[in-house]
């Protein structure tokens, strides 16, 4: 068996008395779409935050693509090919849609101490940016201000920005959050098309989407992984049914 692309060992994160991440050992195989599910407040976003480097774990290690990245800054991890999207849309509102994605491309083209050439006139930047926009279906909005996008379109832009740097792995925190059924369906199609092409860790509440898309599913409850396996195995898991699936969603 080959080494997983991403794996954590004994990851712990506490907020005061709350244990938001409780000794998490997670393994994501290269090329897999790995879903992370769990009730509200289970610690999914907190886990993503530690993987991306925005939060430091209190204990444990994180390995990515052969590196121990536990102490690495956010921007260094991003350069290694670990891209994330945010649960709450996080874009540059005073920029055009194209400029948002251009900036994401620029992050991966060496340093930005370049003071003279206009960035938006540089096809080395706008070329990849436009193809990322095409990929998510936003190419026709490229020249519009990002603030003019609908909620669903902003979610698409968020994903385009994550894709633009040609990442090895995507950490997607509820890419369909707050989307209507039509937009949601398109996002599922998009994720399906990305499957196999990139390794993806997907946090999502929509169980239909999760069971349709995932190669592996891990279930997080009160910060701890209570089960991890194929969709069929998770569906059959008695503990999961009791703790989570049976309850509400």
């Amino acid at each position: 068996m080959t080494e997983p692309l991403l794996h954590t060992k004994g990851l712990v994160k506490r907020f005061g008395g709350v244990v938001a991440t409780n000794h998490v050992d997670l393994q994501v195989e290269r090329g897999h779409l790995h879903a992370l599910i769990g009730p509200n407040g289970a610690g999914k976003s907190t886990l993503i935050g530690q993987l991306s480097g925005e939060m430091a774990p209190d204990a444990g290690r994180i390995h990515f693509d052969g590196h121990d990245v536990t102490g690495l800054h956010v921007h260094r991890r991003a350069r290694l090919g670990l891209a994330r999207s945010f649960q709450i849309t996080s874009i540059f509102k005073t920029f055009s849609v194209l400029a948002n994605v251009t900036l994401a491309v620029q992050a991966h083209q060496g340093h930005s101490f370049r003071f003279w050439r206009p960035a938006l006139g540089d096809t080395a930047l706008t070329g990849p940016a436009l193809s990322a926009l095409e990929r998510v279906g936003l190419a026709d909005r490229a020249r519009d201000p990002a603030s003019a996008l609908s909620h669903g379109e902003r979610r698409q832009l968020e994903l385009a920005m994550a894709l633009a740097g040609d990442p090895v792995m995507l950490l997607l925190d509820e890419p369909m959050a707050g989307m209507g059924p039509d937009d949601g369906l398109r996002m599922v199609e998009l994720l399906a098309s990305l499957k196999g092409e990139r390794t993806i860790l997907l946090v999502e509440h929509d169980m239909d989407a999760v069971f349709q898309l995932a190669d592996r599913i891990s279930v997080l409850v009160y910060g701890a992984v209570i089960a991890s396996g194929t969709p069929d195995a998770i569906r059959a898991d008695e503990q999961v049914r009791q703790a989570y699936l049976g309850e509400d969603r």
Partner: protein, 326 residues
Amino acid sequence: MAPELRPRLILALLLVVALALPPLLGALGQGFYVGFAARVLIMALAALSLDLVMGLGGMVSFGHAAFLGVGAYVVGIGSWHVFDGSPLPFGLPGSENALIVWPLAMVFSGLTALGIGAISLRTSGVHFIMITLAFAQMLFYLAGGLKTYGGDDGITLYNRSELLGLKLSDPQTFYYLCLGILVVALAALLRLRASRFGMVLRGVRDNERRMRALGFPTYRYKLAAFVLSGMVCGLAGALLANASEFASPALMSWQKSGELLVMVVLGGMGSLVGPVLGAVALMALEEGLADLTQHWQVILGPLLLVLALSARRGLWGLLRGRRDHD
């Protein structure tokens, strides 16, 4: 992305007015104002430098007068040693050569900005404002303590700098030199605004967390912008010392820093052109109102309030019309 016509026309018109101003004032028998106009251009350069960090990078510096002061003191100290004949540290002689002293002013203010920025940029928001203010106040008192160089009274320049045989003591020559420097600085920074570096700065202003997640080490870009801004402001300080033939701690006072902030906001933050207009408007208003009444500040305050409320994108926003997106 067709370049917009209207802002370009307005800029061209403003340049023509600026070029025609000295002979115009001369014809009206108001030649005295040429010196004042040069000071306006210099403060416009300082406000422009502040907009680089504040408007583009979202770093609200309340201590930019410090760089103005450092630049002015470098010129003042250079000139003092020429007059006095005593050497500077390391046995260096004083100098009034602009090609030596002005770049030195930029180097020293840049180094000051590096020191202040390296510490204050570890914070943001209100803390950043307070720390930049605190540093500027420290330099203010430090300058006042330089007994050799006049303490609180500062240094009077016996000569203006010498620049390639130009007669800088001639108000017109000096005015056109300041205009040239301002135009070059504005053009260069407008260019920078659209560059990769400029995009990073504006991205940091909008959403620094996202910038880091995209892979940008934001601190070093902010620091670079802060140093560059300090250098431009230091050049303005060097020019200001020449304009008033004087360098004193008052240049570093928090009121001066506040004045620069008002110029930027009044003119239109982040537009680079706006702060230049803001400097012109603020100084012209002060001058005009001071002629009318000694209680001019009572009028100026409300007037600024009305302007700030009615034009949220500043004077340049009013003039140029529709806002552009990149």
